[in-house]
């Protein structure tokens, strides 16, 4: 079936060496697939000229959706007809990236029938990415997958496919059910995911603890980071076992950022009131230490990559929220967040940027979250601030009250 055999000396070099080779993968697909074969020739040309040849995405998709397919056309489609159209289809992955072989093989069989046979398992956001198909194949692809219970992921100015860490599936550190929350939110917000109506993209990522295995703090507009409120439980017997192979003072106590621990060679002690729950000690001594008490998450917002006005890490917005199905409090909050963004954002402004422009106060007031010291690293250092009339009424009323009681209330 394969058509033209391309001479590909430059990318052939990337088949050598110990790390698995994407070129080998492309060649594997190219054996039975014209599109993958032309993708090889196309890539060799990029390597030769040191330049890409893909055009901007066109508007392609499936009926009733505004996203899930990324249009991709080559500038040199005449030379490589197999990649003249080479659209990407995003399939919404299951929470935690768990699969059965049966499901995956079915995904592969459909893809071989309609596309290049090339995939990304997975894309950066989390979708299972099917790489390269033609416009006329999109509706059949959607019918095949959706009838079997698979749906498309998000793209464009919409809710992007939420993703999460492995959580309770295989981790002792998670503080809430990341898999369930991600599934639940994805189902709740199907309309926002498939039909772009936002100013720009909106990403939700759920990590079960401060290890943040999905990098939520760095790349999600809403970063949900698991945490807890109780003391760290200590199993002193296991501490002694660790002491046999580990210098506990150097590797754990000495690296505690709040210096709330001590170890005298017999017993490990933690001053929990001073602990900031960074997870270092727990990750180093997981058999001996574990969180306890109330579990939930810190909600942080606004992170993004550098485009347009520089990278942001997410800011703490809600220091603690309980996360139990059906997650009503969180869902209500998300809707309020989107309403405010809708009112205030211009096209291609991520929510973090809009918060910077409009001010954190405007945002917090709109979503009904009180100012709290946990939200900041330090208070403002300049004296340029707003006083609303309501603020002044409140300050004056407080002072009047103080005069009455004779007791200051700072």
């Amino acid at each position: 079936m394969a058509g033209k055999k391309y001479n590909t000396p430059l990318i052939d070099d990337l088949e050598k060496g110990p790390w698995p080779s994407f070129v080998t993968e492309m060649k594997k697909a190219a054996k039975n697939n014209e599109m993958a074969n032309d993708a090889l020739g196309h890539l060799e040309k990029c390597y030769t000229t040191r330049k890409g040849y893909w055009k901007h995405g066109g508007i392609v998709g499936v009926l009733g959706y505004g996203g899930g397919v990324i249009g991709r056309y080559s500038e040199i489609g005449d030379e490589f007809p197999g990649v003249a159209h080479f659209h990407t289809v995003r399939i919404n992955q299951p929470s935690g990236f768990f699969y059965t072989s049966k499901a995956l093989k079915e995904i592969c069989d459909i893809w071989d029938k309609y596309g290049s046979g090339l995939t990304n398992v997975h894309g950066s956001t989390g979708d299972l990415v099917l790489l390269g198909t033609k416009t006329e194949a999109l509706e059949p692809i959607f019918a095949e997958y959706s009838s079997r219970g698979w749906d498309l992921g998000g793209s464009g100015s919409a809710l992007r496919t939420p993703s999460c860490c492995v959580g309770p599936g295989r981790c002792e550190w998670t503080n809430y059910d990341t898999l369930d929350l991600t599934y639940n939110l994805t189902q709740e917000f199907q309309d926002e995911l498939h039909r772009p109506t936002f100013s720009y993209k909106f990403k939700i990522k759920a990590s079960g603890c401060a290890c943040d295995c999905v990098a939520a703090i760095a790349r999600a507009d809403l970063s949900i980071i698991g945490t807890w409120k109780g003391p760290i439980k200590i199993d002193q017997k296991e501490v002694q076992n660790y002491a046999k192979t580990m210098d506990i003072n150097a590797e754990v106590v000495g690296m505690c950022p709040t210096q709330c621990m001590s170890y005298d060679g017999k017993e490990l002690q933690i001053n929990n009131a001073e602990c900031n729950r960074c997870m270092h000690c727990i990750t180093r001594m997981t058999k001996a230490l574990s969180p306890s008490g109330e579990r939930g998450a810190t909600l942080c917002m606004g992170s993004k990559a550098p485009i347009v006005v520089g990278s942001l890490l997410s800011w703490v917005i809600v220091p603690f929220i309980k996360l139990e199905a059906p997650y009503t409090e969180l869902k209500d909050l998300i809707r309020k967040i989107w309403d405010w963004w809708d009112e205030n954002g211009k096209p291609r402004e991520r929510i973090g940027e809009v918060i910077e422009i409009k001010g954190m106060r405007s945002f917090l007031e709109a979503i009904g979250v009180a100012p709290q010291p946990q939200q900041i690293k330090e208070p403002r250092k300049d004296p340029f601030m707003f006083y609303t009339d309501a603020d002044m009424v409140k300050f004056k009323a407080k002072e009047a009250e103080e005069k009455k009681t004779g007791k200051y209330n700072f």
Binding site: D13, A218, I307
Partner: protein
Amino acid sequence: MALPQRKTDVGPPHYKQFLPPIVQKNYGKWKYHEVINPTTMVHVAESGDKLWTVRVASPRILATDTIREQCDIAEKYCDGYLRYTTRNNVEFLVSDEKKLEPLKKELTAKGFKMGGIGYGITNVVHTQGWVHCHGACTDASGLVKAMMDELYEYFDSKRLPNKVRLAVACCVNMCGAVHCSDIAVVAVHTKVPEINHETFKNMCELPTVIGSCPTRAISPDPAKKSIKINEQKCMYCGNCFTVCPPISIKNPEYDGVAIVVGGKINSLRSNPKFSKLVIPYISNEPPRWPKAVAAIKHIVEVYAKNAKKNERVGEWIERIGWEKFFKLTGIEFTFQSIDDFTFMRDTMRTASTFKW
């Protein structure tokens, strides 16, 4: 053959049907885990059940036949269950220790590469590059392959003071957490884009293009019904090109890569941090980008030699000071490492307490 009836808004399938029975049984009741070696770890549940994980490298671009091979192995050893990680590795989970060695033997025989667990280097988060992106100023997959071939020992055997998370972004859009990685490559343009004024008026929306520029370098050019770009202000981010195809920024001779270091995303010990620019420019040298790869390996080696146990690259550098980092690595300090975009106020030194 007639197509099946399409359905909309069904969302992803429920994850529970994909969880191995041992995971369903011990869901949320894991007690601890141990890293046995770079290829294997074991999770122990409160019930006493044990679950071994074998992690396998992936080039992220997978042919369907490779996925099928992974599935066949999962059927043979893992009751047909498997999972992938956020860094695109594939994981085989076994609840019967007796299956562990045969599984590994077969993975080796089939040419799969095991590793990536614990204090070393695991798979590189990266973007599409020339393989599939319109805005790429380098190829991400090729760079990753070249880097990991050179750093392979840190994947499957050799250990480091802590994890070193690597990433590659093929443009400053950074579709991945490149901006918070221990060491990352970000591809850059270095020349002001050219404008095709003829097609501009038909293809682009003036306010959108002007608004796309973070440095306000774009202004209207009414005579041409197009725009002009102020060369003194343009930082070649390519955002205008993204919203307007007639603006061309690709430049094979001058596009290249920059190296950033010291980022992290977890909160262990110290807060999450951005990666910072240390090498502003290396030419694109496909297929193996030898200078970029050598630079990364060099930084890894200097870190390995100098950091304390458990220190990430960024924590080590903050302890010794950036001036010391440049000294230890011998990397030339350039103007590009001084922020003149949005972070100058935060990044200039305001004390005389530095090291010589």
